[in-house]
Amino acid sequence: MSQLKFITRYASIENPLDIEAYLAQGGFSGLREALTMSPKEVISAVKQSGLRGRGGAGFPTGVKWESVRGDTERYVVCNADEGEPGTFKDRYILEHTPYLVLEGMAIAAYAIGAQLGYIYVRGEYPHIVTALSNSIALSEKLGYLGTRILGSDFSFHVEVRKGGGSYVVGDETALLNSLMGNRGYPLLKPPFPTEKGLWGKPTVVNNVETLAYVPYIFMHGATTFASIGHPESPGLKLYSLSGHVAKPGVYEFPMGTTVGELLQAAGGTRGPLKAVQIGGTAGPIYDTSALGYALDFASMRKVGGALGSGALVFMNTSVSMVQVLDVTMRFFAEESCGQCFPCRYGTRQLAFMAHKIASGQGKLEYLDFMRDIARVMVGASLCPFGQSIALPLETILGGFGDEIVSFIKQQEFLKEVAV
C-alpha cells in the first residue's frame, strides 16, 4: 500500500457517510492506537511527525497542542471556515471523508484533555453542515465519539457551527470570537487561544486538513510521516489547482513537490502560462519562473512567498494583470473586518486606485501611492490580513509593472487623441 496517498485514498470511498466502509479501510484505527498511549505520548508523536498546520501559517501542530495550559475545561475547534480564494481542499475533505477529520479531532481532544469540540464550517458550505451532523451521529452510535470512547474513560463530543461568510474569520482568534456570538474581529496575540480561547478556556484551533492528517501519524507512525516531503515541513499536502489548468482539482502530493510537477499531474495549462498565484489571494503572483518552486513552507519562504493554504491559481496570457490587480484589491476592501484604521481605509483606497486604473482613469502616480499605502498597512495593521496585501500588490507592481504602466499610458494617450 502506498503511503504517499492518504486523504485522497479515503476520499475515494464511494459513499462518504458509509462508516463501515471507512472502518474497512482502517478508519478509526489511528484513534484506537492513540488511546493506548498517554496524552503526553500522543503529543510527542505529533511533534515527532513534524506535522505543521495546513491552514496557512504552518505552525507545528504538536507544539501548539503542547502549549495548552490552564483550566481543565478545554476545547478543540476545527477551522473549516475555508475562505481563501482558489482553495477548496477542506471542502473536498469534508465532502468526501468527514470521518478522517472527526478521528483527528478525537485524537487532538484526547491529547489536550478537551471534552467538547466544534467544527466551524464556512457559511457557504451548508451541505457540509448536514453531512457532518450525520457523520457525528453515526460515529457516536458506534462509540468513536461521545461518552467513553471505545470503552475508555475518554469522552468527547463534537458540535457543528455555521459561519456568516467573513474571510477574516479564518483567523483563529476571529473565528473564536464568531463562535462565541461576537463580531468576527481578530484579537491581538498574546494571549494565544491555547491559554485563553473559547469562553476564555484553553483551546486548540486546527485546520481541517491538519486534523485529517493526524490519524496518519498513528496508523503509519510518526517517523513515516516525517520521512515524506521536505525535512522542515514533512508529510503529505493537498494542493488546490484552479484557473487555466487542464484538470483543475485537489491533488495530494508530498510537501516540496514543485509547481511544474503539480501542473504536469493536472495535465498542463490551458494556453501559454503567464502567471501563477500561490498560497491564496494574499500570496504573491509569480511569472513562469515559479514552475521550479518547491511547494513547502520553508522553500516558499525562501522565494519571498508563502505556501499558505496550498492554492495555485494558474493564469494564461489572456489574463490582464490590470484586471488581476483590480479584483485582488477589491477582495481585500470587501473582506477587511474594519477594526483597524490602516486596513479599513488602506484597502478602500487601494481598491479605488486599482479600479480607476482598470477603468482607464489611472494615473502613474497611483503606483507610488499604492506602495505607500501598502507600507502603512504592513507596518500598522492589527492582524496579518492587512499586512498580507503587500505580497500580491508588490509582486503585481514588480513582476508585471511594465504591463500596468503601459496600460495607464495607453489609456492616457487614447484620452488625448479623443480630444
Binding site: 467573513s166 463580531r183 491581538l188 476592501a333 470587501e334 473582506e335 477587511s336 473586518c337 474594519g338 477594526q339 483597524c340 484604521f341 490602516p342 486596513c343 479599513r344 481605509y345 488602506g346 484597502t347 478602500r348 483606497q349 479605488f352 486606485m353 480607476k356 502616480e365 501611492f369 505607500d372 499605502i373 507600507r375 502603512v376 504592513v378 507596518g379 500598522a380 495593521s381 492589527l382
Partner: protein, 583 residues
C-alpha cells in the same frame, strides 16, 4: 507590583510592570499620538497611530496595548514611524468630510489636532465620503456617521461601561458603521440618551441635539419671558469652557452671563433639588412607616429612568415617584411663579441649563406637562450655553458675581451636592433623619457615599432604625446592583432601603452635556468643587431653605400633599428593548 526599567528614546525610565509602553512614554514626557485611545477606556489598538519600534523586535508594536519589559529599548519617533503615522492620517483624512469650519467639534477635534500636529498640508488621495443621512431622530443625541473615524470609543462606553448596548459596529471594512441594531435610528433604539458616547467621541460624529437657535428666538421675542434654571453640576464645570480649572465654582458668573444674554428671569435648579429632597424624604419615611416597597430608588437621572423602564420594568414600583429637580422647577415656573407674579403662562419660555443630554429627552416626555403644556420648553447643555456666551463675546472668566431672582433660587448645601454621585442620598439622609427623629443631625457629612467608586454602601441609624443604603453611578454598575435587587425581590426580601442611581460615572458632573474633555479625572475635580461649596453654605439641609418653607406655606401645603403630587410627582412606563416596527 514589581518595577520595570526600560529605555525610551535612549532615556531610562522605571515604571510598574504591566504598564503599557504608551503610559510609560507619557510618564517620560512623550505624548504618543493616538486616535482611538482614551485614558478612561481599555485600549483596543484600533488606529495604529501609537506604533513604536522595539530594539531586537521586527516591525512595529502598538504602544497602547504592549506592556513594558525589563531592559526594553523603545523608539517612539523614527523616520519609519513618522512615515506610517502620516500615512494613516492621510488615509483617515481622505474619508473625512472637510467641513471643519461648520463642525461642532471645530477646535476641539482630536483628528484636527493630530492633522495639525503632523502638518498634513495636502491630500494625495482621492477624497471619498459616504453621504450617509444624519440621524437626528433622538431627543438628545445626533449621529453623523459621515464624520465617524471608527475608533470604537462610543461602542466601548455604550456596551462595556453603560451596558446599554444601543450602538455597535455593523458592516465590514470601509463600510463599517456604528449604528443601532439593524440600522434603526437612535430614536427607535434602546439608547437612554446618557450622552457618554458624545463625550468620548474624538470627532464630530456624535453630538447633542442643539436648541441654541430656538432659545435665541425666544430671547429676541419681546412678547416672551425667558425663565432659566441652572443645574447643580453646571456651576463647577462651565468654567472649563473659558479656561478655568475643573471644579471652580462659577455660579455667580453664570447668573451674570445669563442676564447678559438677555434671559429675563434666572432661577436655580438647586432650589428644586432641595424641593426634591422634601418630597423624596417624605416618600421614604412613608414607605418606612408602611410596608415599603424597598428599596426606594432615586429618580433624578433621566438616563437611568429610561434604562430602568427598558431593562428592569419589574422594579418600577421601587422608583421614587418624585420628578427630577429640572421637572419640578419647570412645573413650578409655569404655575406657582406665574400665578404669584400675575404673568400669562403662555408668555413664559422655560429654559433649563443641564449637564445632560437625557434631560432633553426627559423634558419631552408626555408626563412632563403638569402646567398644561411642556413644563420645560428648552434644555441647553453646559456646552451649548457656553457657545451662546462665546457668540455674544462675553468675557466669562472676568464677569462679576451676579445674583439670581428670588422665589425659586435659594439653595442649601444639600442641593448643590446633587451634582455628585452620592449627593442625593446624602441630602436625603440629612433631611430624613431630622424629619423622622425631630432631632438635629450633628454629623452632616456622609462620606461613605461620596466619591467615584462604582458602588458605595452604608448603614445609617435613623431614629433607632438601621437604614441600609447603596449608591451607584454608571449604568453598568447600576445593572449589577439592580440584578441583585431583582434577585432579592424574587426571594422576597431586600438588602437595601434606599438606592441612589446616576446614569453617568461620577454623577451629573460627568453628564453627556458637560465640557469635553469629560474625563474621570475632571469629574473628580468637579465633585470636589461641589463639596467645597456645600461646606461653605449657611444652610446644608434642604428643609432649612427659607424659600422652600415659603413655597410650602404659600402654595403646596405639606410635602406629599395633593398639589405636590399633581405638580411634583410622576409615573413610569415599561418599554420594549426593540421597537416593534409596524408593518
Amino acid at each position: 507590583m514589581k518595577d520595570v526599567t526600560l529605555k525610551i528614546n535612549g532615556n531610562s525610565i522605571t515604571v510598574p510592570s504591566g504598564t503599557s509602553i504608551y503610559m510609560a512614554a507619557e510618564k517620560a514626557g512623550i505624548s504618543i499620538p493616538s486616535l482611538c485611545r482614551h485614558e478612561d477606556l481599555e485600549p483596543k489598538g484600533a488606529c495604529g497611530m501609537c506604533i513604536v519600534q522595539i530594539q531586537g523586535q521586527p516591525g512595529f508594536k502598538r504602544s497602547c496595548v504592549t506592556p513594558v519589559e525589563e531592559g526594553m529599548e523603545v523608539f517612539t519617533t523614527t523616520a519609519a514611524i513618522r512615515d506610517i503615522r502620516r500615512g494613516i492620517l492621510e488615509l483617515v483624512l481622505a474619508t473625512h468630510p472637510a467641513d471643519c469650519l461648520q463642525c461642532i467639534k471645530h477646535g476641539k477635534c482630536e483628528l484636527q489636532t493630530l492633522a495639525e500636529r503632523f502638518e498634513i498640508r495636502a491630500l494625495r488621495y482621492d477624497r471619498y465620503t459616504r453621504d450617509l443621512p444624519v440621524d437626528a431622530s433622538s431627543f438628545g443625541i445626533v449621529r453623523d456617521m459621515n464624520k465617524c473615524i471608527g475608533c470604537g470609543r462610543c461602542v466601548q462606553v455604550c456596551n462595556e461601561v453603560q451596558t446599554v448596548a444601543s450602538i455597535f459596529f455593523h458592516g465590514r471594512g470601509s463600510n463599517t458603521i456604528v449604528s443601532p441594531a439593524y440600522g434603526s435610528s437612535m430614536g427607535q433604539s434602546v439608547c437612554v440618551n446618557c450622552g457618554q458616547c458624545v463625550v468620548y467621541c474624538p470627532v464630530g460624529a456624535l453630538y447633542e441635539r442643539e436648541a441654541i437657535e430656538e432659545v435665541w428666538k425666544a430671547i429676541d421675542d419681546p412678547q416672551k419671558i425667558v425663565v432659566a434654571q441652572i443645574a447643580p453640576s453646571v456651576r463647577v464645570a462651565i468654567g472649563e469652557e473659558f479656561g478655568l480649572a475643573p471644579g471652580e465654582l462659577t455660579i455667580g458668573k453664570l447668573y451674570s452671563a445669563l442676564r447678559a444674554l438677555g434671559i429675563d428671569v434666572v432661577f436655580d435648579t438647586n432650589f428644586s433639588a432641595d424641593l426634591t429632597i422634601m418630597e423624596e424624604a417624605t416618600e421614604f419615611l412613608q414607605r418606612l412607616k408602611g410596608a415599603g416597597p424597598f428599596p426606594l430608588i432615586t429618580s433624578c437621572s433621566p438616563g437611568w429612568i429610561k434604562f430602568g423602564e427598558t431593562f428592569f420594568p419589574d422594579l418600577l414600583e421601587n422608583v421614587s415617584s418624585c420628578k427630577s429637580p429640572q421637572q419640578m422647577m419647570g412645573a413650578l415656573i409655569k404655575t406657582y411663579y406665574v400665578e404669584s407674579r400675575g404673568i400669562d403662562r403662555e408668555s413664559i419660555v422655560s429654559l433649563s441649563i443641564m449637564p445632560c443630554t437625557a434631560k432633553k429627552y426627559e423634558a419631552s416626555r408626555p408626563e412632563m406637562n403638569s402646567s398644561g403644556s411642556r413644563d420645560v420648553d428648552y434644555v441647553l447643555t453646559t456646552r451649548e450655553i457656553a457657545r451662546m456666551i462665546r457668540q455674544v463675546g462675553i468675557d466669562f472668566a472676568n464677569l462679576p458675581e451676579g445674583d439670581p431672582d428670588p422665589l425659586l433660587s435659594r439653595y442649601t448645601g444639600a442641593a448643590t451636592i446633587f451634582g455628585a454621585s452620592g449627593g442625593v442620598m446624602e441630602a436625603a439622609l440629612r433631611t430624613a433623619y431630622e424629619m423622622a427623629t425631630g432631632k438635629t443631625l450633628e454629623k452632616v457629612d456622609f462620606t461613605e457615599v461620596r466619591g467615584m467608586a462604582g458602588v458605595k454602601e452604608a448603614e445609617i441609624d435613623v431614629g433607632g432604625t438601621p437604614i441600609k443604603v447603596a449608591v451607584t453611578n454608571g449604568l453598568g454598575n447600576a445593572r449589577k446592583l439592580l440584578e441583585r435587587v431583582e434577585a432579592d425581590k424574587k426571594a422576597g426580601h431586600s438588602s437595601y432601603h434606599f438606592i441612589e442611581i446616576m446614569a453617568c460615572a461620577g454623577g451629573c458632573v460627568g453628564g453627556g452635556g458637560q465640557p469635553i474633555p469629560n474625563t474621570l479625572a475632571r469629574r473628580a475635580s468637579r465633585i470636589e468643587g461641589l463639596y467645597r461649596e456645600d461646606r461653605g453654605l449657611p444652610f446644608r439641609k434642604s428643609h432649612l431653605n427659607p424659600e422652600i418653607k415659603g413655597l410650602y406655606a404659600e402654595y403646596l401645603g405639606t410635602p406629599g400633599s395633593e398639589r405636590a403630587h399633581a405638580l411634583l410627582h410622576t409615573h413610569y412606563t415599561k418599554r420594549e428593548q426593540y421597537m416593534v416596527v409596524p408593518t
